[in-house]
């Protein structure tokens, strides 16, 4: 687990209060009960945390936790580059 994965898991548990035990790279946001509204919240949190732009609609609840981590990696220039 790289620094982005680690930080993403912390955000999901600490800020969105997702059950830590349920978080895995393969699980979708939807299966963590993160609905379309909470996805909008999450996008804003990630923008601020990782200093990357995430336009509305880019993050979806069908994405897995791993997909989200990859998105941030791509935008920030590599795993853990900005953390």
């Amino acid at each position: 687990m790289n620094a982005i994965d680690q930080r993403l898991a912390e955000i999901l548990t600490d800020q969105l209060k997702v059950d830590r035990a349920a978080i895995d790279t393969d699980v979708t946001l939807d299966s963590l009960d993160i609905d379309s509204l909470v996805v909008v919240e999450l996008a804003l949190i990630l923008e601020k945390e990782f200093a990357v732009p995430i336009p509305d609609g880019e993050l979806t609840k069908e994405m897995t936790v791993g997909d989200v981590a990859h998105l941030i990696e791509d935008k920030s220039g590599g795993p853990g580059a900005t953390v």
Binding site: L16, K17, D19, D33, L37, D56
Partner: protein
């Protein structure tokens, strides 16, 4: 046609007076006020808050983060009431279960927080959860999800009469057979800086901040205003015949309901109490009873200068002087839209126990109040017929008539 009778088969209470029905009843009977100086507000203000409520434990942290306290309190009170009624929500026919809850101010905490975010300059900082967290109707939506109640659901918003309106509305859903069970009551949690500042500017709050425990003193000659509170009260209602058929424990019967409007002023009560008189007379007529039948009144009794005298005159005029009158707001404070629901529950308990709780802090009864107001200590007396009255900003008035099972 005989009066339409609805059984109260379950009660749930989460209020400043306690985390469940038993704690509430003990505290209300004791006549000890729950009021204290509120450390969370910028200006000295006396309030009654629910102590020790753990939303994370009750709803789970994930759901608790996405709900405001008025919803959280209601969910827990509703669960209590349903359990008390002996219903298993996994086994009932949810399509026949309705929800009617009173609320006025919704999730004001979210409004104030998100407005601050907006003023910070970035509209995107406004949470997408703002609307589902603050809208008043969301409480019936959340409780419906929690209980798998798929019949009609709604929130009644008649200000401080909302809880009473909810019980009356629920009774109509049972009468029309739209539902077989209705989870009814009220909730309020809006003790925010903005709301309290607004109440203060209206001049309705007690200014007795140096002695908060005696700030709310309904019907007392020295009363100087209300003490705002939070809380939730829920009743499970079923047609009496249905409740008897399933051998449910019937705690009391809702036998009459009346509602009326002052059509006078948005905040001040009509000086002759014509709205509350109309509502009370309608409730008695609905119950096919007369004023002299009423053993006990749980009055609205807010501790404001105007309400208590106007209400007392109407009670005297309609009921005569025999009824034992109390205002449990002396203990709980004024839980606004939840007040009528809390007081409906306390009225049921008074009937069940044959006990009329005292009006806390009532030292000297206002001479204009020509009623037998119970003070100092509870009064033991058979209560066969009881009334609960509510008045709200907007000129809303509502009254319920309860009878012993």
């Amino acid at each position: 046609m005989p009066p339409f009778e609805v059984a109260v088969t379950g009660l749930g209470l989460v209020t400043p007076a306690g985390a469940d029905v038993a704690e509430n009843w003990d505290r209300v009977r004791s006549g000890r006020s729950c009021a204290s100086l509120d450390e969370t507000l910028p200006d000295p203000t006396v309030t009654c808050r629910v102590r020790g409520f753990d939303a994370d434990a009750a709803l789970g942290p994930f759901a608790a983060r996405q709900t405001e306290r008025f919803v959280q309190l209601a969910v827990v009170a509703a669960r209590q009431a349903v359990a008390d009624a002996g219903w298993d929500t996994g086994a009932w026919d949810g399509a026949r279960v309705g929800i009617v809850l009173g609320n006025s101010l919704g999730g004001m905490q979210s409004v104030e927080r998100q407005h601050a975010n907006l003023l910070g300059g970035d509209p995107r900082a406004v949470s997408p959860l703002l609307l589902p967290m603050f809208m008043v109707n969301m409480v019936s939506g959340y409780v419906a999800i929690d209980l798998d109640a798929r019949g009609p659901s709604q929130v009644t918003a008649t200000a401080c009469a909302s809880g009473t309106t909810a019980v009356g509305t629920a009774r109509e859903l049972l009468r029309s057979r739209a539902c077989d069970i209705v989870v009814a009551g009220g909730t309020e949690s809006a003790l925010t800086p903005l709301v309290l500042a607004a109440f203060r500017r209206m001049g309705v709050l007690s200014r007795r901040c140096d002695e908060p425990a005696t700030a709310c003193r309904p019907f007392d000659v020295d009363r100087d205003g209300l003490v705002a509170a939070e809380g939730a009260g829920v009743l499970v209602l079923e047609r009496l015949a249905d409740a008897r058929a399933r051998n449910a424990h019937v705690r009391a019967v809702v036998r009459g309901y009346g509602a009326a409007t002052d059509a006078y002023h948005v905040a001040a009560p009509e000086p002759n109490g014509r709205g509350i008189e109309l509502a009370l007379r309608a409730a008695l007529k609905d119950a096919q009873l007369t004023g002299s039948d009423v053993d006990h009144v749980n009055a609205h009794g807010t501790s404001t200068l105007q309400n208590d005298v106007i209400e007392a005159r109407v009670l005297r005029r309609v009921l005569g002087g025999r009824s034992l009158v109390t205002s449990t707001k002396g203990v709980t404070g004024h839980a606004l839209a939840a007040a009528g629901a809390l007081e409906a529950a306390y009225t049921v308990l008074a009937i069940e126990h044959g006990v009329v709780p005292p009006t806390a802090n009532l030292m000297t009864v206002d001479p204009a109040v020509e009623l037998d107001v119970v003070r100092a200590a509870e009064r033991k007396a058979p209560v066969e017929v009881a009334v609960s009255t509510s008045l709200g900003f907007g000129g809303h008035n509502a009254a319920l008539v309860f009878t012993a099972a």
